[in-house]
């Protein structure tokens, strides 16, 4: 009986890994083997050149740089604006604080479909269509309700004595935020940074609406181009998908040890109504 949890755990891990292994195997097969029936689980002659071909058939390098730029700039903005808002909600007293908090929680539930058309009209009016601004600027203006919520919860979990002491020594709210709370909130900073990087890396709908010049495409749109023209080269498509996953995987593995503590605060206080 003691082995049962292990069996379940191992099969779960297998379930997670199979698609990734499958992608690696397929990406290294020559074309005729990809379309062999019945499919082979193994391969004898890995075609590393598939990756070079995948990289050059479409400007994949360009797509990757575009994605890195969009996701990187958005990430910085999201952490900056969400941490400030979260700090104000957690540690500053002002009129309308509860209203702001409920507006933020409520805006998590507003479906993107309602905002789609009016935002497009607004950005079109500003002349921002076909630029990266519609993809990046929203991140600098609030950084996503979930991230604000995350920072608020995390700042609330930091003992307030720390900030109060700094305050008594004459530190301003900004100095307390910058030098006491942000360094103490590293797990939240890393988690919010990762989540917003990943969100913007994966984002497909916004680039689809706002970008039409193909050299400005992020990798998500690039993959779609590949998919629609490469129905016949599944191996190259798999190679490109893996290339697209690589930066996110690296960023994630660098942050992994913080995420548990960062997300932990979500479970911590969602239940308590008032403190």
């Amino acid at each position: 009986m003691r082995g049962v949890p292990y069996i379940i755990l191992v099969s779960l891990c297998a379930f997670i890994l199979v698609p990734l292994i499958w992608a690696v195997v397929s990406s290294l097969k020559p074309l005729e083997e990809v379309y062999a029936f019945p499919p082979k689980f193994s391969m004898h002659d890995p075609q590393w050149s598939n990756y070079r071909e995948a990289w050059t058939r479409l400007p994949v390098g360009r797509f990757m740089i575009n994605s890195l730029f969009i996701a990187g700039v958005s990430m910085v903005g999201a952490v900056w604006s969400a941490s400030m808002a979260g700090y104000a909600l957690a540690r500053l007293r002002f009129r309308g604080r509860r209203l702001c908090f409920w507006l933020i929680v409520g805006s998590m539930l507003v479906p993107a479909q309602v905002l789609l058309v009016p935002r497009f009209l607004l950005f079109d009016l500003l002349g921002w269509v076909n630029t990266y601004k519609p993809l990046i600027v929203p991140a600098w203006l609030g950084g996503g309700a979930f991230n604000i919520f995350l920072f608020r919860q995390f700042f609330l979990s930091i003992p307030s004595e720390l900030g109060d002491a700094a305050e008594l020594d004459g530190a301003s709210a900004w100095q307390t935020y910058r030098h006491i709370y942000i360094p103490a909130a590293r797990p939240a900073v890393v988690t919010a940074a990762l989540l917003s990087f990943v969100y913007h890396w994966q984002d497909f709908l916004d680039p689809l609406i706002y970008l039409s010049d193909f050299m400005t495409y992020p990798i998500s749109l690039g993959l779609r181009m590949y998919q629609s023209m490469a129905g016949t080269w599944a191996n190259l498509l798999m190679a490109t998908s893996l290339i697209a996953l690589l930066p996110v995987a690296i960023v994630f593995l660098l942050c992994d040890r913080y995420i548990m503590r960062g997300l932990g605060v979500i479970g911590e206080t969602t239940g308590t109504r008032r403190r």
Binding site: F37, M108, V110, Q113, V117, P118, F204, I219, L223, G267
Partner: protein, 339 residues
């Protein structure tokens, strides 16, 4: 704790600007647009008031319900064949997908979290591994899955065929033909199997809710488990009386968030649609995108559809939130009920 409020306003300024310009204003504009239409959508001028006609167009029926013609069952709820068949089909698809994906995803993620909370060896590696699909997500993994689901060249059906071959002698004991006529689904090329395929993909990426569950489980006081064990409670009773009450707030949170999230699924639909599905994977978000951003760019009609969608979301979520009063246990609420 007596800080000047002007400071707070400065801290909130980016969010206030964003909320006003990118959420509050668009919500109002969208509501207004739903009653209007552009006479000339390309230059976006000459706005015309059309009243409720967009809403009427969305819910109108063309003819009475007749099951003999193979009408889908939900047309019965609408009172007949809808004028805009695709809108109702897409709404139906999104709701069906969510109804299967959300409870299944939450059950699997909670079970995984419970397992990982057992402090077995190797759990930290397993946790990282199970979380990974959540961050990888998006277009690239969808593409990988679509190839995995390929009915002929994909591993999934090959795995099924292996399983059938392996099980054939056993099945032969019960039925003469053995596994010869067992199905290998066409997955993304079938109107029936395309939805289970996407549900499986969803369950693959439940790392996010799993991690939130796990964090909540870590916070259940150990002493309670020790006390329960001393009383001789079984593992199941421990779960029911110690673990579950402590995590109900997080269950509610995950339930609402993942419902809102899956109802808005777009990328799956966009990447995985095939002609053979007969619109079985046309999700609402994709249909709305097409109405708004493909010719003839019906911004007004799209806005009306978005508001009907909001109504549907409210109908789905409000009962869940209200039911929370019955089953969600808030730390501290016990004190108030006693005193």
């Amino acid at each position: 704790m007596n800080r000047r409020s002007s400071g707070a306003r400065l801290f909130l300024l980016p969010w206030i600007v964003g909320f006003a310009a990118l959420t509050a204003l668009p919500v109002l504009v969208s509501l207004a647009l739903s009653f209007t239409q552009f006479k000339d959508p390309l230059s976006m001028n000459r706005l015309q008031w059309v009243g409720l006609s967009h809403y009427r167009q969305a819910v109108e029926t063309a003819r009475p319900y007749s099951p003999d013609r193979g009408d889908p069952w939900y047309w019965n709820l609408l009172g007949g064949k809808p004028e805009d068949v695709h809108f109702h089909q897409s709404l139906y698809n999104s709701i069906t997908f969510s109804i299967f994906a959300v409870p299944l995803g939450l059950a699997v993620s909670l079970m995984t979290a419970l397992l990982l909370n057992q402090r077995l060896r190797g759990t930290s590696v397993a946790r990282t591994l199970i979380y990974i699909p959540h961050v990888l997500g998006g277009a690239a993994t969808i593409v990988i899955w679509s190839w995995l689901f390929n009915p002929e060249f994909g591993w999934i059906n090959e795995g099924l065929r292996c399983l059938y071959r392996f099980a054939d002698p056993i099945v032969r004991l019960f039925r003469e033909q053995g596994t010869a006529d067992f199905p290998t689904p066409a997955w993304l090329y079938s109107p029936v199997w395309c939805k289970p395929a996407v549900v499986i993909m969803h369950v693959w990426a439940i790392g996010g809710s799993m991690l939130i569950f796990l964090a909540a489980l870590h916070r259940v006081p150990r002493a309670l488990y020790d006390a329960a064990r001393l009383d001789g409670s079984s593992a199941w009773r421990q779960f029911l009386h110690v673990t579950w009450p402590h995590i109900t707030p997080v269950v509610l949170f995950n339930l609402v968030i993942s419902l809102v999230f899956t109802m808005q699924s777009f990328t799956e639909s966009y990447f995985l649609e095939t002609r053979q599905q007969k619109d079985g994977l046309l999700f609402f978000a994709l249909y709305l995108y097409r109405v708004a951003f493909e010719p003839p760019y019906r911004f007004g009609y799209a806005s009306a559809l978005a508001w009907i969608f909001v109504l549907v979301l409210i109908v789905l979520i409000v009962p869940i939130l209200l039911s929370g009063r019955l089953w969600v246990y808030y730390a501290g609420s016990e004190r108030t009920s006693k005193g």
